[in-house]
Amino acid sequence: MAEVDTGGGKKVSTKVDMTPMVDLAFLLITFFMLTTTFSKPKAMEVNMPDKVKDPIDDVIKVKASLTTTFVLGEKDIIYYYSGVDNPEVRQTDYSDGGLRKVVLSDIKSKVAQFGNDPIYIIKASKDSRYKNVVDMLDEMAIAGNYVVVYNGQERKTKLSYAMVDITKDDEELIEKAKGGPTAAPAAAPAQ
């Protein structure tokens, strides 16, 4: 019964055919590779001001000249204007040569002119989409790393920005600016 057939003195090979085992192993590897997610989602932290008091009101009373309002419009267009009294509304888009150039050159000129960093007010219109909001907030975060030169000294910008609700006045301004002669020519992408 429990005899091993030694095949008449010849030794039986101890080698096992591993091909199916390897096949199976690679099949499983493929499965786990494809189901694993390596790129974990990232989070952008947002701190909103307390609802009790509107800090923007105070800011505008103090330095309207430092503010620029960005209205996120339809079809990925941004309308922006400086100050509050009869401002000239311009348009731009979310590309590097558009919004980034506008923001950074604005920081540069405000710092050179007033020695202070600008204050940005972000207003999302009802036609804008969520991507626009995130892109805008991201642009602010990027601009926070911008190095400006003031009085011959280099320093990082200390940008203040806030997201507030759009007002009737803004909507009228935008309506007037649409297709108007104030539309800025598309900025060339920075090289």
Binding site: A25, F32, P41, K42, M44, R129, D138
Partner: protein
Amino acid sequence: MNRKSVSLDMTAMCDMAFLLLNFFILTAQFKPEEPVTVITPSSVSDVPVPQTNLMTITIDKNGRIFFGVEGQFVRDKMVRDMAGKYQVGLTEAQIKEFSLTSTFGSDIRQLGAYLDLSATERQKLTNNGVPCDTANKGENNQLRDWIAFARYANMPNPMRIAIKGDNDANAESIKRVIATLQDQNINKFNLVTGLEAKPDLSLFR
């Protein structure tokens, strides 16, 4: 003539294959099934989304809101409190199903029927979502109540909040969610984004 054998020694290959297999099995984290697919925008932020004590508010491109909380026991307690407030009868089986569902999107009044559906049937719904009506001081704002009960159920640990919006979701729907949060004095939250490379600002000097 002496024929050469065509069989190779596969031991080394087999070793390597199983080593890789072990690695992938141990690092695998299965994605929980979600009732809706959203494509998030990207940002330069590289802070990872926290994995624990987290509630996720998902907003799809049609503005539907889905709500999810980490932790089976938290979900169990939360749904009981919520059903109590709205006087909705849920069976024990439905509550069990709820505690195993990572993300849901339904009016509390139809939650029972929603939970009876299979995961694939839920994905086919088009008119669902957690109601988030900020009118009338948020009287009918169910999202607010879910958030409040989730935070209560997770005591004493503080909850972190992630908003996961679709690229094409209207800004209004996001603002409504943020207003709901601010209504409860939650002024700090995370927006879930993909990662994109930090731009070189020296080009703009």
